[in-house]
Symmetry: C2
DNA sequence: CAAATATATGTCATATATGACATATATCCA
DNA sequence: TGGATATATGTCATATATGACATATATTTG
């Protein structure tokens, strides 16, 4: 994990150690966070591929633009449940969704 | 979706329509729930393949046996985040985890 | 460039998930 | 069988996620 990624993680509310780089980020936590970031990226890619705005997505899932923005940013305050739901709401199949996480 | 599955869903706290079978369960909700159930099954399979008890898993993720049981039951009160975290805590790789969801 | 449109960030009150606990039920095995 | 071990179910106080809102900052378009 490079420094830019670490900065992005910290910016999104993840605890990635202060003095030392990320020794206190266990492998399993790292895997989880990286999968979640992949999911947030997948959601954004999917939305863009359909030429939809965050407001459009928000309407479909009865949420708000700000929450969609947070999903796409991989913010620590959003669950993967909401992200998966959003992708399905955009018409993606399970195969498609899972495929975007490989 | 057959009746047995519906019963299982309802038992786990999912709202799957009362009078009519499951007309009020939109395709995206169905996809989400089915993915989550696949994940709960994957977690259980993984645990059993390692010959661990729910208590063992609970210790590794600093949770409780009851919560692990709920994860494996696909209970509506548990997030996919916790399930993914658990699988990673059992040593599964992202490739492995994602592969179990295909 | 400026206006319009899109996205990001911060905060709140409320809803939901969490670990913990008690206890019920199932499964194992001597 | 019955005691031991494992899993399921229900509940609670607390922690965290949620939609909504305001508003800041980009990005597009004319």
């Amino acid at each position: 994990m490079n420094n830019a990624k670490k900065k992005r993680l910290e910016a999104n509310g993840w605890k990635v150690g202060s003095t030392d780089e990320f020794l206190n980020l266990s492998p399993e936590e790292a895997s989880y966070i990286e999968l979640k970031l992949a999911l947030s990226k997948a959601l954004q890619d999917l939305r863009k591929s359909k030429n939809l705005t965050q407001v459009d997505v928000a309407k479909r899932i009865k949420s708000s633009q700000s929450r969609v923005a947070k999903m796409e940013a991989g913010d620590s305050s959003v669950t993967m449940d909401l992200m998966f739901r959003s992708m399905f709401a955009l018409g993606a199949s399970r195969k498609k969704v899972v495929g975007m996480l490989v």
